[in-house]
Amino acid sequence: MTHLSIGIAYIFLAPLVGGLLMGVDRIVSARMQRRVGPPLLQPFYDVAKLLQKDTIIVNRLQNPALVCHLVFMIATGFLFFEGSDILLIIFLLTLSAVFLVLAAYASSSPFSHAGAERELILMTAYEPMVLLMLVGFYKVIDSFSFYTIVESGKPLILYLPGIFIGFLYILTMKFRKSPFDISISEHAHQELVSGLTSDFSGRSIALVNIARWYEDVFLLGLVYLFFSFNVLGGIAAVLLTYLFEILIDNTFARFKWEAALRSAWIVALVLGGGNLVILYAFMGV
């Protein structure tokens, strides 16, 4: 029952937490650039404004696809915090991401098209690592459920250091941070205008942003699992991870997609695969 209520709490609280985190992100980024930065609540203002603005669409399929993107993203997080099988949930996450890509394809300007293709490349790049991470969890804890992992009290990070670093690497992609912000970016101009979201306006972008808040919280939930043996330490580690991602964002130039794909696969193979093999060797097969 408590698990269910935590799941429901996620539905209501995740956007708040996600939005606040993004506000922190923008302030910290600004400070790193010696600027003052926007108010903490800026992400909420943005979404509120977007909801008030008119929406222009290019293809009638684009907004429904975005609604699906959001709904499945919420479902992903809900099921995760409700304690369902994470392996299945990751597939749901993929489904949600596919809907975002489809919305971009539907709007069919050259920029959103290229953004969609690149997003798919990123998905190809990060998926192996995500799967390896889950396998790592299972190998140590023998379960795919959030709560079993938390309650086991095992310091996953000690068993899976390589997998954790590999996950950090692809987390940069999922957070859409430089050097992997090749498909979408809200910073200044880039060669793809706004990539995936180029042809969205008003409500459509608001949907994308809200889905992103949900996604960020879900992803940080995955990070938390590595440190779940200690609640406070875990939360601190999650925040540190987030700050680390912001640091990376501000200190790296954008990669080309080739570099993104190749490097992510190599990282997954060497760190993720390596860690797994060692795990098998030590824990017995």
Partner: protein, 634 residues
């Protein structure tokens, strides 16, 4: 037993009828009617067998055996002759060797061999029969409309439809025979018949390319057949059993050599590397052929045999090697699918890839792996068949099978677009079947007790990531459009009734099977596994609930959001750096010209080029197969 014999024998009736009466009207009626009968009979088989134990039957075999031998002699002679005529001597050599083996068997060992049960039916046979009867039958119905169109498009080819339908139905009959045979001799006979049928179907158009590819398919499958014959010969010469059910319960050491040979036959038939080129070559044939070969018959015979043999090879080095062949094929074929823009080739590579995964499951051979493997067979058969049929229809309408030509599908052929999307979803999106099976496969691989486990998981991790890429970009192409106001193409209305019916039936099945899969699991797959492995196998029931919820969501959320969001927003043009744009991505160029922007998908040739991976796969898998034989003989 009557149902079994009926299913094997009945398709021969329409086959003969269609060959002898070359009248279009008769063909339509006979084909539709036979589909109804065959589908009904396979459902009846299901109804009969749902709670029943596996049943073994002994048929008075003397006459049938002799009949089969005569047909075999005839077919061997035919192939020998064709091989010589088309100067494809390897074919003739293979068929001679094979015939020699079988002839020696027939005269030396046959009198001493007693086969107790020739026929049997268990849950796996029922599943296969349903796939063959329903999906295969639907493909035959589809072929009615398609072949008519085909010949009005290709006047240069001889209209030999009576023969085409004859082979289709013989194929179905052979497939039924294959899944009901307990006697390896019968199994082998039907096995060879499917090889020859596929040869005839691939070479149907008689173009030089078709003939070449037909022979390639024949040679590769004959090499498998030769291995099969070798297995039978070995078993007979060692005085071992020639019955499938006894074979899989035999002590491992004794039967390893014939089992390895039969696995090799399964690998050739299911187009694993290094033999995948025959299935790619088979794409030259008319679409019903491709659909039949890829979904319900032929390749499924290969994986069926592998799944049957799984209990023997499970946990042995032979099993590991089989799994590795499947794994390498799964991974590399998925890579290559990315680089293809020809829709049929994408489908072909994806088939090879998925079959690879099934072979992995068979090679691992633990109960959960077999569960995953069987479900992969079921889901793959339906969704892949649907996709082939859609691509075939679209090809006739828009004149291209290139994915790049499938933009704007929603405006041109909305129904077709929906079916295509559902088919693609069926292939890679949670919670549709393929993904559930993949999920089960991961879990199965996790519990494998050897170092195979991390290797297979790595393979699966990379393989499924690229799968998402090539399917999603295809989906993107289908829904991309900015000429939604374009009038519906008249081509949409030219699709024949048979094609519509068959495609919609597939679509409904694709969705229905996802909802019904807990039942399928409970009634068919779990009992089969319990029977073979002797222990109850229960996949976590909680999972049913969550997948059920997911299926409902996947259907409901788009179904609600699409119409409700439909007309609430104003339309604008796509952003093209401020240039004025018009529907169809046309924009104002310089000096008062209008240009059209074309968008193409990424194919990442330099990353996932076909040449390099094909070579790599052939070399790797050949080595693995050699090792497999090595360990089998030791």
């Amino acid at each position: 037993m009557e149902t079994l014999i009926f299913l094997v024998a009945f398709p021969l009736l329409p086959a003969a009828l269609l060959l002898l009466v070359p009248n279009n009207g008769v063909r339509n009626i006979v084909t539709r009617g036979s589909f109804a009968v065959i589908a009904a009979a396979s459902v009846y088989l299901l109804w009969q067998g749902i709670g029943a134990q596996p049943a073994f039957y002994s048929l008075e075999a003397g006459l049938i055996d002799e009949g089969m031998f005569v047909i075999e002699v005839f077919l061997s002679a035919l192939i020998f002759f064709l091989g010589v005529k088309y100067r494809n001597y390897l074919t003739s050599v293979f068929v001679t060797l094979q015939f020699a083996l079988m002839a020696v068997y027939e005269f030396v060992y046959a009198p001493g061999v007693a086969i107790e049960h020739n026929l049997f039916v268990d849950k796996l046979s029922i599943i296969m029969a349903l796939i063959i009867g329903i999906i295969g039958g639907l493909i035959c119905v589809y072929a009615l409309g398609y072949m008519k169109d085909f010949h009005s498009h290709h006047h240069d080819m001889k209209d030999n439809r009576p023969f085409f339908f004859f082979v289709l139905f013989v194929f179905l009959s052979a497939m039924f025979g294959l899944v009901f045979s307990n006697s390896l001799l019968w199994l082998f006979f039907f096995w060879e018949v499917t090889t020859i049928c596929s040869f005839l179907l691939i070479g149907y158009t008689k173009t030089p390319e078709a003939t070449r590819n037909a022979f390639r398919a024949l040679v590769m499958n004959l090499s498998g057949g030769l291995a099969f014959a070798g297995a039978i010969f070995y078993l007979a010469s060692q005085g071992l059993t020639l019955e499938l059910d006894k074979l899989i319960t035999s002590p491992h050491g004794l039967v390893m050599i014939p089992v390895a040979l039969m696995c090799f036959a399964g690998i050739t038939k299911s187009a694993q590397m290094p033999f995948s080129s025959w299935l790619l070559g088979a794409m030259v044939a008319p679409t019903p052929t491709s659909a039949l070969l890829h979904s319900s018959t032929m390749v499924k015979a290969g994986v069926y045999l592998a799944i049957r043999l799984a209990p023997v090879i499970s946990g042995t080095y032979v099993g590991d090697m089989v799994a590795l062949v499947g794994g390498v094929t799964f991974l590399l074929a998925a890579f290559m699918a990315i680089s293809q823009s020809n829709a049929k080739r994408v489908l072909a590579y994806s088939t090879i890839s998925n079959l690879g995964l099934i072979i992995v499951c068979a090679g691992i051979g633990t109960a959960p792996a077999i569960w995953a493997g069987i479900f992969l067979i079921i889901f793959h058969a339906i969704a892949k068949s649907l996709l082939f049929l859609c691509v075939g229809t679209i090809e006739h309408r828009i004149g291209s099978r290139d994915i790049e030509a499938m933009g704007n599908m929603f405006a041109k052929m909305p129904g077709m677009a929906v079916m295509l999307l559902i088919g693609i979803c069926g292939m890679f999106i949670a919670p549709f079947g393929m993904l559930i099976s993949k999920w089960a496969a991961i879990k199965a691989f996790l519990d494998v007790g050897t170092l195979m486990s991390p290797i297979l998981i790595l393979i699966l991790a990379y393989g499924s990531a690229v799968t998402v890429f090539f399917w999603a970009k295809w989906m993107g192409k289908i829904i991309s459009a900015n000429t939604l106001f374009a009038p519906r193409d008249p081509m949409n209305d030219q699709i024949s009734w048979d094609e519509w019916f068959s495609e919609w039936a597939h679509t409904v099945l694709t969705v229905a099977i996802c909802l019904a899969f807990p039942l399928v699991s409970q009634w068919l797959v779990e009992p089969y596994i319990a029977g073979v492995y002797g222990k109850d196998f229960d996949l976590t029931k909680s999972m049913y609930m969550i997948t059920f919820i997911m299926v409902v969501m996947v259907i409901l959320v788009p179904a609600i959001s699409f119409p409700s969001q439909r007309n609430s927003y104003a339309f604008g043009t796509a952003y093209m750096s401020g240039r004025n744009t018009y529907p169809g991505r046309v924009f104002d160029g310089s000096i008062a010209t209008r240009k059209q922007a074309t968008l193409k998908n990424y194919y990442l040739q330099s990353f996932f080029g076909e040449d390099k991976f094909m070579k790599l796969g052939v070399v790797m898998c050949s080595c693995i197969i050699l090792i497999m034989f090595g360990v089998a003989f030791i």
